[in-house]
């Protein structure tokens, strides 16, 4: 693993509570620029909370979230979005009654450089020609695959340095899942770091550089993707053993 000096996004001993319930237990994560990493875990393992904490929708009780060397634990979501963190939400969740164009424009909500926005819009059309065809259509009327493209496009419109992806393969047909992972790799190849949260461990690890396994709020495994793929414990737990 080629370690770069400063992690782009980092968890330092994060503990998160919902009321009295202890969700994340002393979690340490580090995402370096240009990396493709994944966080694996079953239901209720704390994956979504991790994402929400990274994005500032949940504040940790102890520990820090560090963005490019700056502690942002108590900063708002919009502050973090402005500094290059964006999420592609689970199940795409487009603004269904708004047009594809309006969705993309909302992705660039915090930007004011018109030229840059137009430029990024073109870049997205190049990446997803299908999105350009549907630009004035209501986004709720698109097919699942097209919606996924718009969701990624919307996130890219904020010109992120790291893209958080919540279950990108959720709710997609098997054929589309493969295509979707190819898209993720393509975005990654343009230099955007990707932090992916997935249940589909095999697929995720096959494209990721590194990965963590989260179990009831604790990081139980932290290794290279190949090593994780070969790990017998992981294989066992993803063959259906409940935890």
């Amino acid at each position: 693993m080629t370690e770069k000096a400063v992690p782009l996004l980092e968890f330092r001993g994060v503990n998160t509570h919902y009321g009295a319930v202890h969700i994340l237990k002393d979690v340490n994560l580090a995402i370096y620029p240009g990396e493709l990493v994944c966080l694996l875990g079953g239901n209720a393992s704390g994956k979504s909370t991790t994402l929400k904490t990274l994005l500032g929708m949940v504040t940790p009780t102890t520990g820090d979230v560090v963005l490019d060397g700056e502690i942002v634990t108590h900063q708002s979501t919009s502050y973090r979005v402005q500094r290059g963190v964006t999420m592609v939400p689970e199940n795409r969740r487009l603004f269904k009654r708004l047009s594809v164009k309006e969705n993309l424009e909302l992705g660039a909500y915090l930007r004011s450089d018109r030229a840059g926005i137009a430029n990024d819009m073109e870049r997205i059309f190049e990446l997803f020609p299908r999105v350009k065809e549907r630009i004035n259509q209501k986004s709720g009327t698109l097919s699942g695959g097209e919606q996924q493209m718009v969701a990624m496009g919307r996130a890219l419109m904020s010109n992120p340095r790291v893209l958080l992806m919540d279950e990108p393969s959720m709710g997609l047909a098997p054929a589309l899942v493969q295509a979707n992972f190819e898209l993720i790799q393509q975005i990654h190849s343009e230099g955007v770091a990707i932090f992916m949260v997935e249940q589909n461990a095999n697929m995720a690890l096959s494209i990721a550089d590194r990965g963590w396994v989260l179990q009831t709020g604790k990081v139980v495994l932290d290794d290279d993707a190949e090593a994780l793929l070969a790990n017998p414990d992981l294989r066992a737990s993803y063959l259906g053993e409940a935890d």
Partner: protein, 595 residues
């Protein structure tokens, strides 16, 4: 190419769905019985549509067989499927629905004759029976109803058999005769303003309603005008559409300017009653435009919106009236307005701050509560030293604008003032809708969590919607206060909130034109919570009709009376794409290639 056969013979052509016809007949029967027992035939009999042939009371029943038969006969035709060949049997199907609908009336007549249920049902009365018997014997009435219902159903069914041209002609004639009759007060007033009393005397009967000949003339005119002017209008329209966008913009602006100018000249040709009515409509347009921002754009279901109307009204009253019990600076209205805007904005913030953290149903209920709290505060003895409690505040002076004083006794000036503020509100709404803030509101309406993840500061943005809505409502309150000259807590019942909401929903949420049309139709024609509309006889059935309209809109046209132009275009594009796909014009396997 995707091979989809367009050969109709491979699809089975279905016959008439008789079960559907029978169901509609039964629903028709229930409807006519319900309308009769709600008291509409008797209550509306005084208003005549065509003198002496048709009164609104009879019309409240007679539309049922016709409309239900025509609805029962309509079928969804899927693209690529063969349309069923219509035949004489469709007429009989319609007649069956009509017979069923009038059967409801006949059954009710028999029941009224034999049982007395007047105790629970107020309208179970001899008057109803008399009216339904056409002032003759009951047996005569029953026969007439059955024949009439069957005939109207037959006509309704025939709507799908005759060519499209006849169908639209029938619709035009019916709507224009009904419209001209309903708009009688307005039209007589307008024509009088132009010195054309002779024309109205010719068309309208002395005590209301169209003359038979007048109705015929209106119908003929309604048919002739589109025939003569139609092609020309269409030509101009295509000309405008084909213009370069810069030029088209100029044409649109010119049109807007001309219609605005006409609107400002209009009050001078209208009499007191009509000006008063339009001023009331304007007050509700202001309120509805404000609520449209809160509900239509930001998706915050505010059921206590009347609170801001009340705060605006009371603040104006306190600041301008010499009779204000506690604090009476007697400021001129324009100065008071500044204070009103600031204060209502602050109240918006104050109410909004705790409420805005809630979502959906919870938020709606809490706003409902706040709306009532504000009214009860104005009513309370505790604050009666400031607001006069149930006695309210009286002697509110009008608006002095130099040349004239805007006051309730001069509805024309009130209407002009309202127009100015409506203009401001429309401009503000329009600019906001297309702004960054407007987009953020729509994003929150669609999905609040994701909007937040995109970097939208949801709390502040929602509060902003609340405050902008509150300020627009306060304009309305300030004018209302000056117009009426006195203010009481009873003007700010929860019902007002509900009616404003209905105006927004029926007109079309998030759509400025829709909101204005909604206010014109609901407040102008049916009447507001206390303000009479053109159909004054309807006032006791107003809420019933509001409710029925709301249910129908939610089921059939959730986008409102005037759907958003942009949305319609998008929808059409989608339909077009679907049709093209079904006809095999788009190669689905290679869509990227066609781009």
């Amino acid at each position: 190419m995707t091979a989809i056969s367009n050969d109709p013979s491979i699809y089975e052509t279905p016959g008439i769905n008789w079960r559907r016809q029978i169901r509609f007949g039964l629903i028709g029967a229930l409807s006519t019985a319900f309308i009769s027992l709600a008291g509409m035939p008797v209550g509306l009999d005084g208003r005549s549509i065509i003198q002496p042939v048709l009164s609104m009371g009879y019309l409240s029943l007679l539309w049922v067989p016709f409309v239900f038969a025509s609805i029962a006969g309509s079928e969804v035709v899927l693209e690529g499927m063969a349309e069923r060949q219509r035949s004489a049997r469709d007429l009989w199907a319609g007649a069956l629905v009509g017979l069923g609908s009038s059967g409801g009336v006949v059954l009710l007549m028999i029941l009224i004759q034999n049982f007395d249920l007047r105790d629970p049902l107020v309208n179970w009365s001899p008057q109803l029976l008399e009216l339904l018997s056409f002032d003759r014997s009951a047996a005569f009435g029953m026969v007439i109803w059955l024949v009439l219902g069957t005939f109207l159903g037959f006509l309704g069914g025939s709507m799908h058999v005759v060519p499209q041209k006849f169908r639209s002609a029938t619709l035009t004639v019916c709507l224009s005769v009904f419209g001209v009759s309903v708009l009688e007060t307005f039209l007589t007033d307008l024509l009088e303003g132009f010195g054309l009393e002779g024309l109205t005397d010719l068309v309208y009967y002395k005590r209301g309603g169209l003359e038979v000949l007048g109705a015929v003339a209106v119908a003929a005119l309604a048919l002739a005008v589109p025939l003569i002017a139609g092609p020309r209008v269409a030509r101009v329209k295509t000309q405008v559409i084909e213009m370069p966008s810069e030029e088209r913009r100029r044409v649109n602006l010119a049109l807007l300017a001309v219609s605005a100018a006409l609107l400002f000249v209009l009050p001078f040709f209208l009499g007191k009653i009509t000006n008063e009515l339009l001023a009331n409509v304007g007050l509700f347009v202001l309120l509805a435009l404000g609520l449209n921002i809160v509900v239509g754009l930001a998706g915050i279901l505010d059921l206590g919106y009347v609170a801001f109307f009340a705060v605006g009204g009371y603040t104006t009253a306190v600041l301008t009236s010499p009779n204000s019990p506690g604090f009476s600076p007697e400021l001129p209205w324009p100065v008071a307005l500044i204070a009103v805007v600031i204060l209502t904005g602050l109240v918006g913030l104050f109410i909004g701050a705790p409420v805005i953290r809630m979502r959906g149903d919870y938020l709606a209920i809490v706003t409902l509560g706040f709306g009532e709290i504000i009214r009860l505060l104005f009513l309370s003895d505790w604050l009666s030293g400031w607001f006069g409690g149930a006695q309210g505040i009286t002697n509110i002076p009008g608006v002095n604008v130099g040349i004239a004083t805007v006051k309730g006794t001069d509805p024309r000036s009130v209407f002009l003032l309202v127009l100015v503020f409506c203009g401001i509100a429309i401009y503000v709404s329009w600019r906001l809708e297309n702004s960054r803030l407007g987009r953020a509101w729509m994003a929150i309406r669609e999905d609040e969590d994701v909007a937040e993840a995109m970097g939208v500061n949801t709390t502040n943005t929602k509060l902003m919607a609340f405050v902008v809505g509150a300020v627009l409502a306060s304009f309305s309150g300030a004018i209302f206060s000056a117009k009426v000259g006195s203010i009481f807590p009873t003007s700010f019942l929860m019902l007002v909130s509900i009616i404003i909401l209905v105006v927004v929903i029926v007109g079309g949420m998030g759509n400025i034109t829709g909101v204005i049309v909604g206010a014109l139709v609901l407040i102008g024609v049916l009447g507001g919570p206390k303000q009479p509309g053109l159909l004054q006889e309807f006032s006791q059935f107003k809420l019933l009709i509001y409710g029925a309209l709301l249910v129908w809109m939610m089921l059939k046209r959730p986008e409102g009376l005037v759907p958003n132009v942009r949305r319609t275009r998008e929808l059409h594009q989608e339909e077009f794409l679907q049709d093209a796909w079904l006809k095999g014009e788009i190669d689905t396997d290679d869509q990227e290639g066609t781009a």
